[in-house]
Symmetry: C2
Subunit: 337 residues, 2 copies
């Protein structure tokens, strides 16, 4: 399969009709987030920019779309006893909120080093917080114990593939909204971590308009997608090191084929570029954006984007601002270094 | 005239048809700002809240609407040699930007104690900065000198009444947008300083729906509108002291009759309540809001609002977030005290 070819419903686990169903499912609950523009940032970038502000999504990040689609896809029998997950970030709050809306309990295992504002979001949405050590082993062990203690029928790990798919479909609704709000978009830049967000966005956007370019924005200290694209296969890293706490996961079997085929290129930026983008988001756009959310702007302003072969054809660029959960003191300390 | 009576076109210097003309005039240039909502803040307030986000207006504050209407109302002869003003805040940036768009010079006299981010906004929009001492006398002397040196034909002070009127009409366009975006609004809470913003908003809103309540939100350390309403006449204060740097001006002859007749009540809050509201805007809404912009939320959450006779009838409340120009370090230091 050649890159950039239009998708058909048979190519991948997800397709545009499933994403449209997800949109109908989550519409009563999720915000239709606004698209902001700024002539000041346009003149800095030398391009027309559109900011799809998922920092204004419920829970402060795009994750609510996927979590809501997953929770409302469960049948009553599976849903009743609640859901369990382990997460250090926005997925935790999103799942807690979706569960609260459906009236079922959410047990959230959180590693002790999670950002404070993300923990507070979980509590705000009535999620029941259970602490674990930061290691993945401790997270999984703790989650399994909670699963046994509560009798919860649904668990992030147990139903991983189905859940991932439902989450990915939910994230894809971003493109459906976006292309109604700004149909002139020719390029979308999306943060990449596990690949759920960009997979959903790319599938939906290219199904609507196959000419749209999709770029991933990835931190230098966690550039597994960049490496994977070069190697032509999933490439995991032995360690990750980036300020972007939401972008430390690796591509999986479900997302890799979509990233391989539909993501035109990966723009890699360093943490300093991310911090400068956070500052611009605050000062010019007047929005709170976490490091992972600012990386798309960092990518647009980076030299690696300006030297990309497709650069001259990217004139109306949407930057997906994936989330806004950054402690004020952390933001200040980052930009004030 | 009784409070709350519907306005006719003969009551005040401004009227709804002039505001509609202003809307047509500024539409090609001004942002139609989004209205954000938050169930978390709704549950804190016990009311449905709608945030009209003028922090996303060009220049980061509502002031661009009025400045744009004023600049584009000038005939070519008056406009060519540019405009002069003295301002420590958002009006300066707004005028500079409007002048830049029309392609005429803007000479901005700025007192040395102005917030840094507001000065940077002026420079960003190609305004020519001339420094003065903080005193009003120094500001006016410096502006007059610039006026003579440049031959600029238009000056904030010289044409004060006409300019104020044009500015007020521009601000009124907020209500026209708002009531298209959220027609269920029954109450609008607006920061009050010189009264231009609330006059425009009140005139337009009550002309469209006379049942809408208009509340002013005012800092305790600069509560001249509150005192004026009690005394039934313009009451100036001998000194002002509030963190809300945009709310230190007093009502004038043009705005007082509208505030007297169309503003249902003034909610007074202290600086600590303003700071808490700024924190909530950042943490929950994910937006940068300056003290003057956060005062409407502070008012909604205040005890003085909860004990207001009309409280039980205010169920769908719009809070006008007037601006977002607050230095990140200042915001952090305020909420971290």
């Amino acid at each position: 399969m050649e890159p950039n070819c239009p998708t058909s419903s048979n190519d991948y686990a997800a397709d545009i009709s499933s994403i449209r169903q997800a949109q109908v499912r989550i519409e009563p609950f999720a915000h239709r987030t606004p698209v902001l523009t700024s002539e000041t940032l346009d003149s800095i970038a030398g391009r027309k920019l559109y900011f799809k502000c998922e920092c204004f999504q419920k829970g402060g990040a795009f994750k609510f779309r996927g979590a809501c689609n997953a929770i409302y896809s469960l049948d009553d029998d599976h849903a009743t006893k609640g859901v369990v997950t382990h997460s250090s970030g926005n997925h935790a709050a999103a799942l807690a909120l979706a569960a609260k809306l459906r009236g079922i309990p959410a047990y959230i295992v959180i590693p002790k080093n999670a950002p404070k504002c993300k923990v507070e979001n979980v509590k705000r949405y009535s999620g029941q917080v259970i602490w674990s050590e930061p290691s993945m082993q401790s997270r999984e062990d703790t989650a399994n114990k909670v699963l046994q203690d509560t009798g919860a029928q649904f668990h992030y790990e147990l139903f991983q593939v189905n859940l991932e798919l439902l989450v990915e479909l939910g994230q894809g609704t971003i493109s459906l909204e976006l292309l109604e709000q700004a149909s002139e978009i020719d390029t979308i830049i999306v943060p990449i971590s596990g690949g759920g967000l960009i997979s959903g966005v790319a599938l939906a956007a290219k199904a609507i308009n196959p000419a749209i370019r999709i770029f991933a924005a990835e931190p230098m200290g966690a550039d597994d997608a960049f490496q994977s694209k070069i190697n032509g296969r999933i490439t995991k890293l032995s360690e990750v090191n980036t300020i972007a706490d939401g972008l430390r996961a690796f591509l999986g079997d479900l997302t890799w084929p979509i990233v391989r085929d539909l993501v035109d290129d990966v723009i890699v930026v360093d943490d300093e570029e991310i911090i400068q983008a956070m500052r611009l988001c605050y000062e010019i756009l007047k929005i709170a954006v976490e490091p992972s959310g600012a990386i798309g702007l960092a990518a647009v302003l980076s030299n690696s984007f300006k030297t990309n072969p497709a650069y001259s054809e990217c004139n109306n660029i949407c930057i997906v601002i994936s989330g806004g959960n950054v402690d004020l003191g952390v933001l200040w300390n980052s930009v004030n270094k």
